[in-house]
């Protein structure tokens, strides 16, 4: 790779990291929200306990196979928050540049256009994944006493691998939204689908069979199970059956996303659809 190309990549990443720094409250949300939502979810259990007694927790254990309610929810929701943010931010970044009228300026500069637009979400993704790994740390310290045991490092790696295919889903969504004025709608719809079908807070086996089939194509369903395998079931990362599926999903989502994204950009340049004025 030439030094000029490296400089281009650096320039884009630097620009987006400045945005990340400017909108830092999103990262605070990534850190705090899993705990808030895990507390809410655990309180649902407590409310059920107040009303129906010990059978509430017995039913939970028999359905999920887990006894620790808070841990169960935190692991799942800890993945949900960054997942939805990666998808919605990736799907919206190019369209928001279009809306601001800054996409033309980027295209006028002497750099690769596809490289420019694909690098938009990378700093966000790196920051969100880093903060979600950090947000797991206090919980790991409380539960295991130290944040860097072999199991926990495997948990961090599992989080990283589990969230990477979402970049592809986000880019695919971006290609659908470039020409829509309300460019955020596809991201919002995907958030709902991923939330319900991924099994963040319940095992997907309790859903009807056709829903389970749909959840199998979502990387998040496998990612949450991979982390549960490592942290709760003490299965090594390499031994988990979810790992090869997720590794396969990275190119499976990313390659078509990049191809379709490139096509939409080229077509947009010819027709002028990508320009604000």
């Amino acid at each position: 790779m030439s030094s000029k190309r490296l400089l281009e990549i650096y320039a884009h990443l630097y620009k987006e990291f400045i945005y990340v720094r400017r909108y830092y409250s999103i990262l605070i949300m990534v850190f705090i929200m899993p705990y808030i939502m895990a507390v809410i979810s655990s309180l649902l259990g407590f409310a059920a306990y107040i009303m129906v007694g010990e059978s509430a927790y017995e039913k939970f254990t028999s359905t999920t196979g887990e006894e620790d309610v808070f841990t169960y929810f935190l692991i799942g929701i800890g993945l949900f928050v960054p997942s939805t943010l990666i998808i919605s931010l990736t799907s919206q970044l190019t369209a928001s540049e279009m809306e601001r009228g800054t996409l033309e300026y980027i295209f006028l500069s002497p750099i690769s256009r596809i490289l420019a637009t694909i690098t938009f979400p990378i700093p966000w993704m790196i920051s969100i994944i880093a903060v979600s790994i950090l947000s797991y740390m206090p919980f790991f310290v409380l539960k295991f006493g130290f944040p860097f045991s072999i199991e926990m490092i495997q948990g961090y790696v599992a989080t990283l691998i589990g969230l990477t295919p979402l970049l592809g889903i986000g880019l695919l969504a971006a290609t659908l939204t470039l020409k829509i004025k309300e460019y955020w709608v596809v991201g919002n719809l995907l958030q709902g689908i991923i939330l319900f079908f991924s099994g963040f807070a319940y095992p997907i086996t309790i859903l009807p069979y056709w829903m389970q089939l749909l959840s199998m194509v979502l990387p998040t369903s496998h990612a949450v199970e991979l982390i549960r395998d490592v942290i709760e079931r003490h299965i090594s990362l390499i031994m988990s059956g979810r790992l090869p599926i997720l590794l396969l999903m990275v190119p499976l989502y990313l390659l078509p996303a990049m191809v379709s994204y490139k096509y939409v950009l080229r077509r947009g340049e010819l027709t002028g659809e990508l320009y604000k004025y």
Binding site: S25, M33, L43, A48, K181, E182, V185, N188, L189
Partner: protein, 269 residues
């Protein structure tokens, strides 16, 4: 206040209502997507709740959850609508013009109340239909008078709370994450998400100090009876006083925002 002033104030309110409703219905694709994504969110929380529920208690608890969703949307929409109203004024650089209208920021903010009511009407109707179709649960209200009085006070107190939050957040670029971080603890602590009596004692001891708790508790009592936090007449009184207090505070903080903006207008970007 003379007749001309009253007419000008009413003109400001009606213009603000018109603008807010026009913006609300402008985003049709968002409304359509919302129709599909809302049931998924409801199903997510309901499925999570059913992890703990034996079949014998399912219907009672789902009815409580239906009420929670309706209440949740009231507070949430009040926070979002008022905060995005004030932030929108700031971002579009029209603060000066709005402050020059008859009644200023506070009166023109009433338009966002119209948006809140519209959104809640659509959401509540939709959610009742979704619960009926998905779980065969009807919204039953045992004492409509108490329920609707409680609901009215809940709207007003949430609006006052929204104004206070809006005045604290309108200078920040990303209000979304801030509102999310604030709203979830409030939803738990005030008994909106789950009835106060079903919360752990430590949380209950905080709930009683939150003004928003009482009108919602009153409304929930009107729907399903059960118990109130305070004796019923006292709960009425505390709900009314809390609502008044929150709205007076809301008025004062918006006046302070006007004062601050007229002396030190902050930059937008």
């Amino acid at each position: 206040m003379n007749y001309t002033n009253i007419r000008r104030t009413l003109d400001t309110i009606s213009a603000s209502i018109y603008a807010n409703l026009k913006i609300y219905f402008r985003y049709k694709a968002s409304l359509i997507v919302w129709l599909f994504s809302t049931p998924l969110w409801i199903l997510f929380f309901t499925t999570m709740f059913t992890l703990f529920l034996p079949e014998s208690h399912m219907r009672t608890m789902l009815h409580q959850l239906l009420l929670s969703f309706i209440f949740l949307n009231i507070l949430s929409e009040c926070m979002w609508a008022t905060s995005s109203y004030l932030r929108g004024i700031k971002e579009r650089n029209i603060m000066e013009y709005v402050m020059m209208t008859s009644g200023g920021l506070y009166i023109s903010a009433y338009g966002s109340f119209a948006r809140i009511l519209t959104d809640n009407l659509i959401f509540s109707t939709y959610i009742v239909v979704v619960f009926k179709l998905m779980f065969d649960i009807d919204l039953t209200i045992l004492n409509p008078i108490i329920f609707f009085v409680g609901l009215l006070l809940s709207y007003l107190i949430s609006y006052g709370f929204g104004l206070i939050l809006a005045s604290l957040t309108y200078r920040y670029r990303t209000i979304g994450p801030i509102i999310n971080i604030v709203q979830f603890p409030i939803l738990i602590l005030s008994g909106i998400l789950l009835p106060v009596y079903s919360l752990p004692e430590e949380i209950q001891s905080i709930s009683v100090f939150i003004p928003v708790t009482y009108p919602f508790d009153l409304s929930r009592y009107g729907a399903v009876k059960g118990s109130t936090i305070l004796p019923l007449p006292l709960e009425f009184l505390v709900s009314i006083l809390s609502t008044l207090l929150m709205n007076i505070l809301g008025y004062l903080v918006l006046k302070y925002v006007e004062h601050r903006e007229s002396i030190h207008p902050s930059s937008v970007m």
